[in-house]
């Protein structure tokens, strides 16, 4: 009964509440009430999509990870811009990336990071969550791409999620 009425995803509820306050024109009594209702209702409605609570540890490493991704987006955007303006044709590749993460949320974050950092888009994940299909825009050495992703993104995520 308590799970029916409580907050199945407390973290998600806090985020929803804060986002609702930011979306409106300042915090008011009405926005707090609506925010509370949304923070309770939306996790309840979407609980079917979260079969288990995301098991996290060392979540304080997340800001470091976000900062690193932002810096990488800037650096790699410049290299993609150079590639687009260069008359040389790019050398694209489909890469099968063996995932060592097991947490579904962590894999989602990894796939999104891969898509955001220029040069790579995650295209698909195998049904058993073991292999991520990545399309690289321009690479001579697919193994190098795999090694980079593992070192820069998957290793920190492995530390953050069980």
């Amino acid at each position: 009964m308590s799970t029916r009425l409580g907050f199945p995803q407390p973290f998600l509820s806090v985020i929803l509440f804060c986002v609702w306050q930011l979306l409106g024109d300042g915090v008011s009594g009405a926005s707090i009430i609506v925010g509370l209702v949304l923070a309770w209702l939306l996790p309840q409605l979407t609980r079917g999509f979260w079969p288990e609570r995301p098991a996290t540890r060392k979540l304080w490493l997340m800001p470091v990870y976000v900062l690193r991704v932002l810096v990488d987006i800037v650096m790699a955007s410049i290299s993609v811009a150079r590639l687009v303006l260069n008359p040389r044709q790019p050398e694209p590749a489909f890469i099968n990336y063996p995932v060592t993460l097991e947490n579904p949320l962590a894999i989602t974050i990894l796939a999104s990071t891969v898509s955001l950092t220029p040069g790579t888009v995650s295209a698909d994940i195998s049904d058993d969550y073991q292999v991520l299909l990545i399309h690289a825009l321009d690479t001579q050495d697919p193994d190098q791409v795999i090694a980079d992703i593992r070192r820069r993104y998957e290793a920190p995520l492995l530390e953050m999620f069980k």
Partner: protein
């Protein structure tokens, strides 16, 4: 608004415009569907990010206070761009879109 902030904001707008333009050029110039997918997901990330930063800076310097909504737009864009890119790539593989000759590796059967 001081001259320094004016120049800084102009620079941010120019950077944002440049990367958005590069994304559009990439859309025209890249050889196949999968490589073209890179241009809008990537260039817009930095392009829109820079333009949003300029917007935040402008409204902060005019005294209206930093707009939280611009930051939220950027965050939502960063959250949704990878998902849509992923779905588009899946749809392309489902329709058996052929990659350009010279592509290493193969798309998956859907």
């Amino acid at each position: 608004m001081s001259v320094v902030t004016e120049y800084a904001l102009s620079a941010l707008l120019l950077i944002g415009g440049f990367f958005t333009l590069v994304g559009a050029i990439g859309l025209v110039r890249l050889p196949d569907f999968y490589t073209r997918l890179h241009a809008p997901t990537k260039a817009t990330t930095l392009g829109v990010g820079a333009i949003m930063l300029a917007s935040v800076g402008y409204f902060s310097s005019t005294g209206a206070g930093p707009g939280a909504s611009e930051i939220l737009i950027t965050v939502f864009l960063l959250l949704t761009a990878p998902v849509s890119a992923n779905i588009i790539a899946k749809a392309a593989m489902h329709l058996d879109e052929k990659p350009v000759a010279g592509t290493k590796g193969n798309p998956w059967e859907q």
